[in-house]
Subunit: 133 residues, 2 copies
DNA sequence: ATCAGTGTACTAGTTCACTACTACACCTTA
DNA sequence: TAAGGTGTAGTAGTGAACTAGTACACTGAT
């Protein structure tokens, strides 16, 4: 639908596509259980190789974001609820990167907090817009 | 000093080193004007090629984080204070990535906020510990 | 059983990221 | 002006990342 990809951007095609799908899922544009376009269909629409789409789907499946069934298609997985040490660690690093980035950009802490809160609100709205189930 | 690097980690050496330096600057372990180890010195300590270190320094200079002078050495630059549309954009993306990541990890918004605040405090402490100038 | 849909495996080629070797250019001090 | 420090430039090789071509395997409906 709204997927698009630029082979000349320097960023690998499969990364571009993967990020778009991840974001779509996280912002509830793609809802739980919803079917994604087939490997071939998407490949044709984006004029890329089916294997490239397949790779994206495989990686997303390994990350537990989608589920795929041979002969049937690919679907958005149920959101995981568990939250262990590994997740904790990843989030920790992500936050640290954000701090470093902000500093490098010349953004002071107060400004960062405001930005963060604003973004959090936006996200909350997106998730609530079509309350799932 | 505390730099270390693993050639077998899968992550490029120059990325590892660059991130360490960026983080050191952002957390005020490396202060404004402070001199970094020379290309050769660091290369020998880490048993890597001088050019790899040089690449790190070049990229960091392009990002405005350090300043380099032929024949003299390399130094931590003054922190930039300007804050334009480009910066705004980068920060925006960083925040968005964080939201997506958190969602994927199964972290709800409230928990994310708490984590964020905690991290912000840690960072504030680091910056204040040796108030510059 | 057959068909038309789905995802998958295998293979291979091309590009480029990454690192290293070597030699050069600049600056400061004595 | 010579020496010893600094960063830099050019070149090259190895390997892996990325994508594509082609053929296979599974599923559900007819």
């Amino acid at each position: 639908m709204w997927y698009h990809v630029d082979p000349h951007s320097g960023i690998p095609i499969y990364i571009q596509l993967k990020e778009q799908i991840k974001k779509a899922v996280a912002s509830n544009l793609l809802k739980e259980g919803e079917q994604l376009p087939s490997v071939r269909e998407l490949a044709i629409k984006l004029t890329i190789n089916p294997n490239t789409v397949a790779r994206v789907y495989q990686e997303l499946e390994r990350e537990g974001i989608i589920e795929t069934a041979r002969g049937l298609g690919t679907f958005v997985a149920r959101r995981r609820e568990e939250y262990g040490a590994a997740q904790e660690d990843i989030l920790e690093r992500a936050l640290e990167s954000l701090m470093v980035e902000a500093y490098q950009l010349g953004v002071d802490q107060e400004r960062l907090r405001i930005k963060f809160e604003k973004k959090l609100d936006v996200w909350r709205d997106r998730l609530k817009k079509e309350g799932d189930v």
